[in-house]
Every structure is written in C-alpha cells, then in structure tokens.
Subunit: 325 residues, 2 copies
C-alpha cells in the first residue's frame, strides 16, 4: 500500500487496570501528550508511523504516572526490570528488549535492536550490554522509581500478597497496585503501520519475569496488509491468547478495528477470565480501542482532532496543539 489518500492516525494507551481516582488526571494528560508528540511527527513533519509510535512511547516512558521507563514498578526483589517492543508493518521488522535495567527509554533500545542487529529480541544482561555498546547512558534505579511504586512494593512485602492478588486481573478489578504498560499504534500518509509497547511489568513480579509486552504477537503486532495493535492488561492471559495477533486475524476475516478489539478481548475473558485492553488502527486509519478492566487511559489523533478517555464509553475532546506548539 503506497498511496497518499491515507489519513495519518495515532492511537495511544496508558495501561488498562483499576486506575485510582488519584491518577485519573495524570493518566489523561499523559496519553494526550503522547498523542500530540506522535501526531506532530505524522502530520507536521510528514514522518513515518514507526518514528511516531517511538516518539509517543518515549513521552509515556518519561511520564512518572505511567508504568514504563520512569515510573516502572518494582519486582519482588525491589528492582526495576523493563520490557519493550517496536514493529513496522511493511517488512515485519521488529526489535524488543526484556528484563533490561537502568536505562531511561527501553523503546529506544528496542528500536536499535531492530535497526542495528540481525536479531529481533535481546534479554537480560545481553540487552544491557548492547545498550552500553550503543552508547546509552545508565541511570540509577532510583531515578526510575516513584514514591508511589515504592509504597506498592512495601504493601506487598507487608501483606505477603501474591502476584495474582496484585494484578488487576479477573475478579479483583478494584485492586490499584497493578499498574500497567503503555503503547501506541499509527498509520502514516504512505499507508505504513507501526506499533510500540513498553512496560515496567507488575509489582512484585518474579526476578526475570517477562509478560506479554515485549512478545511479538502478544504485546504488539502489525502488518501493512491489515493494521497495528498494542495491548495492555494481565500479561500472562494476553500471552496465552496471543492477543495482538488475534485482533489482526479478526480484521483479516473482515471485522472493523473496533469489532476485532471487542471480539478478541471477549474471547480472553471467556477462555481465561483475563482482563485487558487494546488500541488498534487499520491500514486505512480505522480506529479501535476497548478494555475489559475498570479503566484504560487512551487518546487518538486524526483529522486534526484529539479524543481521549479513561472510563468505559467515555469520549472527551482535548486540544491538539499545546500552548508551546
């Protein structure tokens, strides 16, 4: 697909979970900021979907209210291990990192795996070794962690909760210690699609635990023949149904982005009682978003209009241009 009739479109999520009242405002601001950053690249600069989703996710990673990059939650050992993936739909090229420590923007490292290696995924110490070779500076863990995330970890330590208790999965959707993942999908003027997802994971996860986010077909997938998907929610459930790939298969069967998003999440509920959310864009700019958790912060930018929301069936309109732009 290579025609100029495609309307550049970007859709963002800031995680699907039981977002507490105290984080509603910050979450909505965060996803709108990311939508603006990505849309500026797509429209203002006529840039690629790939660059747009990377820029958007970088904004989300830098936002301490969201669980990715700065703002990542702590694993059971009190450490920060982060995961990210980026993918483009023309040649299906992808880059991912998992269990990486002490870097500010895992999405940038994932892009380097895609652009500068023969591989798709690097994990653990190997990912950090590659970051050093690429000249990415290390940051102390303390710079990535918020007071709120330390409190969530202490809560876990004090009450010996299990990871299942802490996740916003299934019955316990009111738990507010889950946190979860950020992501973006986009289509550019050339009809190229891209997706990106980044996360600090879930509080008190085991050392070395990798969820859906950096897993191709689970946390993200895209294909110029169909569209792009980024997912969020209970990572282990998302992996078991390869959620991102499943949404695109539904679209390949003729469904709209929205219908496909709803069908795949309903299937995850029926089969596994797993809750989550997705954002979707088709190769011609058809937007979809849906969540089966209590809340999901999302934002979209298309045709000069920025929409966003955080509660079910809620669509608000924001300003596409900030004072500064």
């Amino acid at each position: 697909m290579n025609c100029s009739t495609i309307t550049p479109t970007i859709v963002i999520h800031g995680g699907a979970w039981a977002i507490p009242e105290s984080l509603l405002e910050a979450s909505c601001v965060g996803v709108q900021n990311a939508a603006r950053a990505g849309y500026q690249i797509l429209v203002g600069e006529g840039g690629s979907a790939l660059d747009a989703v990377q820029a958007a996710v970088r904004v989300l990673e830098d936002d301490p209210a969201l669980d990715a990059g700065t703002g990542s939650v702590l694993n059971v050992a009190g450490d920060v291990e982060m995961d990210a993936i980026i993918m483009e739909g023309q040649h299906l090229k992808a880059g991912a990192v998992a269990g990486v420590k002490n870097i500010r923007n895992p999405i940038n490292l994932a892009r380097m795996v895609m652009d500068k290696t023969d591989h798709v995924m690097l994990v653990g110490e190997g990912a950090n070794l590659f970051a050093s070779k690429m000249g990415i500076s290390q940051v102390p863990k303390e710079e990535l962690v918020t007071q709120e995330n330390i409190k969530a970890w202490e809560h876990y330590q004090n009450f010996k909760l299990t990871v299942e208790d802490l996740s916003s999965n299934g019955a316990d959707n009111n738990n507010t210690y889950g946190h979860d993942t950020v992501g973006a999908v986009a289509v550019d003027i050339h009809g190229n699609v891209a997706c990106a997802t980044s996360t600090g994971g879930i509080t008190a996860k085991m050392v070395g635990r990798v969820g859906d986010s950096p897993i191709i077909g689970c946390g993200a997938y895209c294909d110029n023949a169909v569209g792009a998907v980024s997912t969020t929610g209970h990572g282990e459930s998302i992996m078991k149904v390869t959620l991102a790939r499943d949404v695109l298969y539904n679209m390949q069967q003729g469904m709209s982005s929205q219908a496909a998003a709803e069908k795949s999440l309903d299937y995850m509920t029926e089969r596994l009682a797993g809750a989550g959310g997705v954002v979707v864009v088709s190769n011609h700019g058809d937007i979809g978003y849906h969540f089966t958790t209590e809340r999901m912060a999302w934002a979209s930018a298309k045709d000069g209009i920025l929409n966003y929301g955080i509660n079910p069936k809620e669509t608000l309109t924001g300003k596409l241009l900030t004072e500064a732009s």
Copy 2:
C-alpha cells in the same frame, strides 16, 4: 473435547536446516528415540500429551547431535544460553525460559515455570535463580558443549562471519553451521494437545539473543479446539510471522494439518524469504510436517507405527519398540 476415540499421536522434529551428511544418521536416530519415549507415555502408560512432549524433548535435549540442552551451540561470547517452552491446550497454560545457562534440561525448567509460578516466562539470571530454588543442579558449560560446536564457533571467529551467514536462512541453505532447535507435539487419548520446543539457538548469536523457540505463538502454540504446533528454522523470520499461531489459524479456517503447515511456511518464504519447518498434530490426531530448508529430521508415532524422515518427500518406517522395551 473428552472422548476415548482419539488415537494417541506424537510428532517430533530435530531441527530444520542444512543438516550435513555426517549428522544424518544421528539425527534420524535422535528423533526416533524421542518419538518412542513420548509414545510410550501416551499408550503404554495412558499418560497426558503434556507429559509425552516433555519426555520426548528431554530425550532430544540429552542427545549431543541436536542443538538443545547437551549439544547447544555457542553464542558470540563462547557461552551457552538456552531457550525452551512447553504448553497445554486445555487451559492454554504455558511455561517458558530464555537465556538460561548451566542446566541440562531447559524443558523441565519451563514445565516448572508453568506448574509452580503465576508467570509464563522467566529470562536470564531470573530463570537460573528459579532453577536453583527448584533444586535443579547446575552443570558446567563444558558438559553441554560438543567438539563440533566449538569448531563451528572457531570457524566464526576465524572468518568473521555474520550471524546471517551462519544461519541456514534464505539463499545460503548449504551452510552447515546453523544448527537448530528440537520440538514435539502430541494429542492424548482424552483429546488434550500439547507442544514443547527447546534450543541452544544459533552459533555466534549475540549475548541475550532470544529467537522464536521460547516465544508463545512463534516457537510453539496449541489449543484443544484445534491442535498443536512446534516450529524450527530461522528464528527471526518465524517471530515476524508468529508461525505456530499462524498454522493453527489456517487449521481454524478448515485446512488439514499438512495443508496448514505448507501454507504458513510458504507465506514465510514469500514475505520474508525465511526458511524453516513445522510439526503439527490436530486435536483428532491428523499429522502434518513440512520444511522449506534443505532437510529436517522428523518422526511420528501413531497406531503402533513409527515413521521418520530427513530429506524432502521421504517417509521411512522404524521400529516402535527398541530391544530394551
């Protein structure tokens, strides 16, 4: 599905690549041994597909002629980092490890991730930490490595080949330094399906590189509603098309195991010029296997008959019972 009319079936692969003449005999013996071990559990003991694929892959891991467990290839730093996944189709439960070192049977550790944690995947040091907690003894790297694999690594060092040169992907199917992955799929008398895949990866891979093998939907996937798949070949290509999941989607559209295997591998060739192989079993015991590399060692056991092969369009018949059994 829970009826007694299902014919217990297991299908094995020992890797799809340009297997040299010197390894033909050992590869064929290896996959037959694994098929016997798994089939014995399915029929002799009326056991589960899950136990059968784990036992079969353990036999393959212990075979030094095959690139998994003992016999794993060396990464660019001369180290052994192994990956494995196991999955069952009733509840879609799965366990995977990646970048794990110094253990003899990664598939056993993957099973423990599935059975004894809330997670699906553990990587790097965290995977080894979990192995220690489970009481799995560490083995020195030297016990996992063969002289042939050391020579392949030295060849890389001497000639400064790239990983692409070393893989049996695309144009260079005659290269014999690729090595590749083992796997098994099975259906038991209860109609439960399972799959397992294990690998040492590719010679001279970057430290921390994870290919398709431990990635759910790529190296393996199964669902009682359809069947089970294990894949092998150029890992990065397999990831980009989520090969295992793709085969099952084709079966969901009505294709036989064989037609689905061929369609998905043809798509990987057309889209990415990527070569590989798959073994498949449907939930009623319909067998499929196919490869687009020069060779793939495979074996199947069903209805008391053991078949195997290693060259295209070759089906030989082996002995299901060894002298000892």
